[in-house]
């Protein structure tokens, strides 16, 4: 059966198209500039979200066309006559030259997760302007560059992982520090994402039912694929998505029935369910749960993101949030503490620059690339798309009335138990929402309450239901869209939880295998159980601590997550900069060097403040001291309702502060090690030995792709 290969609709552009292409890019630039102009000049009045979309898309187009091409040609010197590992090592399975459009989808599905949906929502606390600027500028000069260059370097080394490259290029100590750092960062990441799910599902029968149903649906798909119709993935996924939609509808029915009480779970119960789920998913065979869940997730991801883009453009909602709030300068925001620099960049995290992408870019993708020049579309392009998802998430959060946004995202300790207290608390922050409006907003999406539903997911879901119901179905479908969005996010996150636990397990097995051989064997069952238990135990601890934190777990842990993710990016950027310098490309080292310096400045400032700040709202140890002193004096401080709460707060702050210090130390080791290698490379009179795979001429002749040469130059 003929399989792949749709014809490429490529053609060589004739000389005269130079003018046309110049006109086209001038128009794109003008469009983007208009978008930015409207956003920047709007003062006081509400503007349409379409301007944000226009500014972002215009900037992406220009950056892709010019900056990514400059990087590909000048910095990386991609060479399409050179055979890629996919061609040289082709085995039909792990290595095979893949159509670039397919690989783009593959890579995008692998990097896109819940991070870019949650971060921008929380960052809306500072207004839409700073967030949008960072999401767009950060991806163009940081995130997409990192993804593309790591992808390229790994591809030139037959698909080596970032950890291996770190070991080979910067030495054992730095490599080990990077490995331990990645593991520790993974644990925090899983805990924070799982907490987002807990906050979204707690006390909601509808959400809990439909998300729980994803497990039997995935199991059914797994058995169907293994025994009934092996390999028929598309068919199985279509059935799965159908069942998923039924599960969402079913949730509405359950909520109104007498069964509802069985699905109203407390946050603590949900924590134990998630930890149990993570463990089971990590030890079960992949075909049963992990693989089918992955397929479901992929289809839901691509579908929902396309739907969201369509919704934003058609509904063209007005942004109700201010462009820049006072919290940006005074750092006293209720959602996360600290001022714009560095905490905005920490909070947005994955949508602009994500260290975790470096792990994916040095995983499967480099083994599948057909031609070297395609790292542009796959590495840079996928990350631009991810950034666009972040922009849409920011829009969804800014469509809400600010009063509702703060009533949903402030810590419970501030809001109090009822809609009346929440209304008063929001008023204290300088925004207005009446108790009746809060009740009506919850009723519209058929939830018990929206007060204190922090974590980002419920806010995004309300925003999405607002946008979607404006296009499809009107107010009657609001509750459906809300729960659709919750399900979509929970699905994403649970996929990350089971994949992440498994990844963590492999890392731990790898590390412990050095000490005691049997535990390193990936087929030895007790080894799998022990390491899986350790991994879920570790993230489960942080999850439980976060969920029971009297001061609001998201507020305490999200900065830790953001800093962790950005520190991982610092590791990736440091390794790539070192590798560029070792390859004798000092003059281009700024391409990764500048984002590295920025990222180090952001993360170390944030980390420093989190450890040493005297302000108890920001510094972990300052807060610890304040509460410890109060315990000695026998007093209760705000947030705590009894002495146990006080002790919990002291313990959590101690743990968080110590973890923070360990992260910074590990990354510092990597940075110092990288710097030493760079100095050695610069001092050496002859170039250091390369670790690239030797040149082999490519035999693949692509039907002429649209050539860039005929377009306007990069100006370099």
């Amino acid at each position: 059966m003929p399989t792949s290969a749709l014809p490429e609709s490529g053609h060589r552009a004739p000389e005269k198209s130079r003018m046309r292409s110049f006109a086209l890019w001038a128009a794109v630039a003008l469009l983007g500039a208009t978008g930015w102009g409207v956003i920047a000049l709007a003062r006081g009045e509400e503007i349409s979200a379409v301007w944000l979309v226009m500014a972002a898309l215009g900037s992406y187009a220009i950056a892709y066309r010019f900056y990514s091409r400059f990087i590909a040609r000048r910095v990386l010197e991609v060479d399409d006559t050179r055979a890629t590992p996919a061609e040289r090592l082709e085995d039909g399975v792990d290595y095979h030259p893949t159509d670039r459009r397919v690989l783009f989808g593959h890579h995008f599905a692998a990097i896109a997760g819940a991070g870019p949906l949650v971060g921008p929502v929380l960052a809306a606390q500072m207004g839409y302007l700073p967030g949008t600027i960072w999401i767009v500028a950060g991806v163009i000069f940081g995130g997409a560059v990192q993804d593309m260059i790591v992808l390229f370097l790994s591809m030139r080394r037959d698909g080596k992982s970032l950890g291996q490259m770190a070991r080979d290029e910067i030495g054992k100590v730095g490599g080990a520090a990077a490995l331990i750092g990645v593991f520790a960062i993974m644990i925090i990441l899983l805990a924070v994402l799982a907490m987002v799910v807990v906050n979204a599902l707690a006390e909601s029968a509808w959400g809990t039912f439909s998300v729980t149903m994803t497990i039997p649906i995935a199991l059914f798909m797994g058995f169907y694929l293994r025994y009934l119709r092996p390999g028929r993935v598309v068919e199985t996924s279509v059935i799965g998505v159908g069942l998923l939609l039924l599960a969402i509808l079913g949730g509405g029915w359950i909520q109104d029935s007498s069964l509802a009480e069985y699905f109203v779970w407390s946050p603590e119960t949900l924590v134990f369910c998630l930890v149990g789920y993570g463990f089971v998913a990590s030890v079960l065979p992949v075909w049963m749960l992990l693989a089918p869940r992955d397929y479901l997730s992929t289809f839901m991801k691509v579908g929902t993101i396309a739907l969201m883009a369509l919704g934003v453009v058609i509904a063209a909602p007005a942004l109700k949030a201010e462009s820049v709030t006072d919290f940006a300068s005074n750092g006293a925001g209720p959602v996360f503490a600290g001022s714009l620099f560095p905490f905005l960049f920490i909070t947005i995290a994955c949508g602009a620059l994500s260290g975790f992408h470096a792990l994916v870019s040095s995983g499967t993708t480099p083994k599948l690339i057909q031609k070297e020049s395609q790292v542009r579309m796959i590495g840079y392009g996928s990350m631009l798309t991810e950034s666009f998802v972040a922009v849409m998430a920011l829009i969804a959060a800014c469509v809400l009335e600010p009063g509702l946004f703060y009533a949903m995202n402030s810590p419970a300790a501030l809001l109090g138990p009822t809609v009346e207290t929440a209304s008063a608390a929001v008023k204290g922050l300088g925004f207005t929402i009446t108790p009746d409006q809060l009740t009506a907003a919850a009723k519209a999406v058929e939830e018990q309450t929206l007060v204190g539903r922090s974590g980002g997911a419920p806010t995004l879901a309300v925003g999405m239901s607002e946008i979607f119901s404006g296009v499809f179905g009107g107010a009657a479908l609001k509750a459906f869209w809300y729960h659709f969005a919750i399900m979509f996010e929970a699905l994403f996150i649970l996929t990350t939880v089971d994949a992440g636990t498994r990844v963590g397990r492999f890392m731990l097995q790898d590390m412990l295998g050095n000490v005691w051989k049997p535990i390193g064997r990936v087929t030895w069952k007790p080894g799998i159980w022990i390491t899986s238990g350790l991994v879920v135990g570790a993230w489960g601890y942080f999850l439980y601590a976060g969920v029971t934190d009297p001061l609001g777990g998201i507020k305490q842990l999200f900065p830790l997550f953001g800093i962790a993710n950005q520190l991982l990016a610092a590791v990736a950027l440091a390794v790539t900069t070192t590798m560029l310098i070792k390859a004798g490309k000092l003059r281009w080292a700024w391409v990764t060097g500048v984002p590295l310096v920025w990222d180090v400045a952001v993360t170390f400032t944030a980390g420093w403040q989190k450890i040493f700040s005297g302000n108890p709202k920001i510094g972990f140890f300052a807060q610890r001291e304040a509460y410890a002193d109060a315990i000695d004096a026998g007093k209760l401080l705000p947030g705590a309702t009894n002495m146990d709460d006080m002790h919990t707060i002291v313990l959590n702050n101690t743990v968080d502060g110590v973890i923070m210090a360990i992260f910074l130390l590990l990354v510092l080791i990597v940075l110092v090690n990288c710097a030493a290698v760079c100095v050695r490379a610069l001092r050496s009179t002859e170039p250091l030995p390369t670790t690239e795979a030797p040149y082999v001429e490519s035999r693949i002749d692509l039907p002429a792709q649209r050539s860039d040469d005929t377009l306007v130059g990069t100006g370099s």
Binding site: E90, H96, A109, G231, V234, V503, F506, V522, T523
Partner: protein, 63 residues
């Protein structure tokens, strides 16, 4: 009508490629090229072997 068919075909092609459904066809084609005499594994057998391999590799997913 044919335009609609074409779009649907493209979408199906993309979806099948994206989730790796075409992996088996590709494998068979390659197998026949390299070992023309040896029997090709059935779809069922192929996927058993593949999932067994997936058991030993870390999944590449992200936040």
């Amino acid at each position: 009508m044919s335009a609609v068919r074409k779009v649907l075909d493209t979408m199906l092609w993309y979806a099948r490629e994206l989730v790796g459904e075409t992996e088996y066809d590709r494998y068979c084609e390659r197998h026949r090229r390299h070992h023309p005499k040896a029997p090709v594994p059935t779809r069922r057998e192929f996927h058993r072997i593949r999932t067994l391999q997936r058991e030993c590799e870390a999944p590449g997913r992200c936040c």
